[in-house]
Symmetry: C2
Subunit: 209 residues, 2 copies
């Protein structure tokens, strides 16, 4: 039942986005009374949470799958980038739900952070395996040492001076995907994928992969 609701909800989400998602519409499509859906998802936010978790897991699956049979760090990085970008282009509303503005009043519960970490961990493993020596690396100031340690937890063993560049490249990836998806580039660019790839390769050199 929960499964059927989330499946239908996902198609609605894909068609009209998170704000256009309506419990009543889902109920209608199932031939149920709208009140019955509330038994499975007391609140619209609960349904959204389920969709978010599913989304993170789907992206995590894609991210992990992208690493199969790849060893070269720059290659793995590019493959991960493609996994994220393809997911975003394939399921834009889901990507927006995960990495776009949070829906107002919605506070992501704890259950979402583990699935969300999966993709991040794939990235962390690339960095950790590569042990890169970024050409522009500089030791971070002592003030942020605890934060650097916290950030390092996803990329164990990576030296201090690489942690910040690694995080920065990670934000650049999602910034690029979000810009492309949310129309920030306008319609001036024609070879979107090639531009994306070139940015990813540039970041690989930045990181020293």
């Amino acid at each position: 039942m929960v499964r059927e609701i989330t499946d239908i909800a996902r198609t609605h989400l894909a068609r009209e986005g998170a704000a256009g998602l309506s419990l009543r519409a889902v109920a209608r499509e199932m031939g149920m009374a709208s009140s019955a859906v509330h038994r499975y998802f007391p609140t619209k936010d609960d349904l959204l949470t389920a969709l978010i978790i599913d989304g993170y897991n789907a992206l995590g699956d894609a991210a992990e799958a992208s690493q199969h049979d790849r060893t070269d760090p720059a290659d793995r990085w590019l493959a991960l980038g493609h996994a994220v970008r393809d997911f975003a282009l394939d399921r834009p509303h889901e990507y927006a739900l995960l990495y776009g503005s949070p829906v107002p009043g919605y506070q992501a519960p704890q259950d979402t952070i583990a699935p969300a970490m999966r993709t991040t961990l794939v990235y962390g493993r690339i960095i950790a395996d590569a042990r890169p020596t970024s050409p522009v690396a500089v030791s971070p100031p002592a003030v942020i040492a605890p934060d650097v340690d916290a950030l390092r937890s996803v990329m164990p063993g990576v030296p201090d001076e690489v942690v910040i560049p690694a995080v920065t490249a990670w934000t650049a990836l999602f910034g690029a995907v979000s810009f492309e998806l949310f129309g920030q580039f306008g319609d001036t660019i024609t070879h979107r994928r090639e531009i994306f790839d070139e940015g990813m390769r540039s970041l690989a050199r930045y990181l020293g992969l």
Copy 2:
């Protein structure tokens, strides 16, 4: 009248976000009938457009102001980053409206792109003035030459091999701000501003500023 509506709408937007914005609530606060508001903004999207344009202009103002009395490229880059980040932290819902997921069904009209470009142009001027020689720059493949030209239009005179890194740094900035604002970092980081700064400085070295 239009001014008063947008002002009240902005406070509502700041309090509850774009989806929580209600024409009726604005009308109530003005002591008007809800139908009267529709005379000035036929549709909720029209009101949103006005808020978006105002938001881009406010950010553009801040971005331009951040450049006064600054000449060092790395310094200007950091100042611009702070302008964007401060704006986002100050007015999170407005930032989300500009750079987060687009509200479903809403298509940004042409009038928004000129204000949106203001901030981008500030960045382009930094790059154009600095004429950086990125340590990791590589000539882009010929396929994307037209796109590189299009992207160069905001940073005139910048050589081919710097355009892509420049765009990538730009996406990294907004990726970092969005990650921080949308809670992607969780609550593990304590010195957010210092981490942000360190990332910005790292990107400055990446660009060769």
